[in-house]
């Protein structure tokens, strides 16, 4: 597959995407359109059954190749149209990690190292490159110390990092995460968020559906707000979380935003409320008046 040269371009293009699961009446995704640039971090928010998971599945080709149903519109991943491609080809463009660490383990491998190599064996990567990629994944996830353990003997957080390592070993340029920390304890969640941010620094484009708004606000570039399958907003965290109608869509803004709203503390320049602690402190007269978004 040819890459499209050196210029920055849209990694993900979604045009009027509509999708309905088989045997249902309601559209799971209803006219969703957005574009994501290379290296961006995108958060997907919305209440349960707003279409977050369906969108994650659509970006990785499981919709429409694994789940049948009515499909309309267009999804382009790195220039490849999802509908006419295959899950295997797309898996090397956009990797998917989801919430349950247990079911993401193949159960056919006895060590973490072999588990991570599973996908590479399937796509026919040579042994030398396989070893190189697995070592890289282990290092990125900080799990070199558990490489010889059985995947099922690990804690949830470790297992989830193994799942991410297995997916990034396929060297996708996009990583799609569907509530990756919803089944983890706070400390394990923290570890997972840390490695996601590290992957972002490596230049991987990240799309993450999450309920932990404080976390999303601190490291995403833009937020996609979904409600009953419809796209409500796609903007910076400050703009999305400052919306007055957020509660109508079942989304609770970060605690800092709620607090500042109650206190009427608004950034005069941008006319938005702060979304992170750093922004609150700078608004209260911290050292730099510019919001230092990391």
């Amino acid at each position: 597959m040819l890459s499209c040269g050196g210029f920055s371009y849209e990694k993900i293009i979604v045009e009027n995407l509509k999708y309905k699961y088989p045997d249902t009446d309601q559209l799971a995704l209803n006219d969703v359109s957005f574009e994501v640039e290379e290296g961006e971090v995108i958060g997907i928010v919305g209440q349960n059954s707003a279409g977050k998971s369906s969108l994650c599945l659509a970006l990785t080709g499981l919709i429409p190749h694994f789940f049948n149903g009515a499909y309309g519109g267009k999804v382009l991943i790195d220039g490849i149209e999802v509908k006419t491609s295959t899950i295997t080809d797309l898996s090397q463009k956009a990797g998917l990690v989801f919430d349950n660490p247990f079911t993401q383990m193949t159960a056919s491998k006895y060590t973490v190292y072999d588990e991570i190599a599973f996908g590479l064996e399937n796509i026919g990567v040579s042994r030398e490159e396989m070893i190189e990629r697995v070592d890289w994944s282990l290092k990125m996830m900080g799990i070199e110390n558990i490489k010889d353990k059985n995947p099922f003997d690990l804690s949830g957080g470790q297992m989830q990092r193994v799942a991410i390592a297995s997916v990034i070993a396929m060297r996708p340029e996009i990583l799609v995460l569907d509530e990756p920390t919803s089944q983890l304890d706070p400390q394990a969640s923290e570890e997972v968020f840390r490695v996601i941010q590290q992957l972002s620094q490596e230049g991987i484009t990240i799309v993450i559906a999450e309920h932990k708004m404080e976390k999303l606000a601190s490291f995403t570039d833009r937020i996609l707000l979904l409600y009953e399958g419809k796209q409500i907003d796609f903007d910076t965290p400050q703009k999305v979380f400052s919306r007055d109608d957020l509660h109508d869509y079942g989304v609770v803004p970060p605690i800092f935003t709620t607090y500042c709203k109650a206190m009427g503390m608004k950034n005069k320049k941008t006319n938005t409320y702060p979304v992170t602690l750093a922004e609150v402190s700078s608004l209260l007269g911290g050292e730099n008046n510019e919001w230092n978004k990391s």
């Binding site: 499981l62 996908g119 064996e121 026919g124 040579s126 099922f152």
Partner: protein, 252 residues
């Protein structure tokens, strides 16, 4: 859930396919040639291989498990075999006959021999090496995956069942007591278990899909299954012995 014992021995170094052929030839020989001597010779060879493979101690509990079957075979044959004519000894009114005991002994040797022959294979071969060898010989990777994952998924599933059982009991479901109580408890237990495995199966197949499980490319392998220098020679000898035994049985 695997019987494999990690050891450093000559038997561990032999490639899986050769050991598979050995297990089948050794298990079948005493049936093809129904004599005590043949059964005994093959059994002694298998035991020697187990000793060389440093796993002999692991086979004893397996034989112990089947001891009940083995002993009852000998007793029943000794007392009731139709062609029993020569009484050997008796406990009160129960008479043991020579023919029956001899046949029972042969059956016993066959069972123990079968266990030892497959013991050589299973105790000294990593299950994933075995599956990988079969895939490289042309078995479908999907079947290979099913065999490989069952070994790990069964313990996972029994853990799930235990959790669901505890959850239902904490809601007041009676799972212990008379047969009727147990039957009544079956439905509220099996329902969630089935639902749960359906959901995890779907999730796991998604996880497999996004890792190229359906790739059309030729599969590669992280580990080289070690090839054994004399594999071809041993395999040829084993197959020759097997053919020779069949010919012996037919013509002599």
């Amino acid at each position: 859930m695997t019987l494999y014992v990690k050891q450093d021995s000559l038997i561990h170094e032999i490639d899986p396919i050769t050991k598979v052929i050995y297990a089948f030839v050794a298990a079948l020989l005493p049936y093809i040639l129904p004599s005590h001597t043949v059964a005994l010779i093959v059994l002694v060879i298998s035991i020697m291989l187990l000793v060389v493979g440093k796993v002999f101690r692991k086979i004893i509990p397996l034989i112990g498990l089947s001891l009940f079957l083995i002993v009852s075979l000998v007793i029943i044959q000794g007392i009731f075999r139709p062609d029993n004519v020569t009484p050997l000894f008796h406990f009160g009114p129960i008479i043991f006959y020579k023919e029956g005991l001899s046949y029972g002994l042969l059956l016993m040797l066959r069972v123990i021999n079968l266990l030892c022959a497959f013991g050589v294979l299973i105790l000294t071969t990593k299950p994933d090496d075995l599956i990988q060898s079969f895939i490289q010989k042309g078995m479908s990777p999907r079947i290979g995956y099913v065999i490989g994952s069952v070994l790990q998924l069964i313990p996972q599933m029994s853990a799930t069942i235990a959790t669901i059982k505890d959850a239902q009991r904490s809601r007041g479901l009676e799972t212990e007591g008379s047969l009727l109580v147990r039957i009544k408890a079956f439905l509220p237990l099996i329902g969630p278990v089935i639902m749960n495995s359906l959901i995890s199966t779907r999730e796991r197949s998604i996880a497999l899909e996004v890792r190229g499980f359906n790739a059309k490319q030729k599969k590669t392998f992280l580990h080289e299954v070690h090839t054994y220098k004399y594999a071809k020679v041993i395999q040829a000898v084993l197959i020759l012995i097997f053919i020779f035994a069949i010919l012996w049985r037919i013509f002599l």
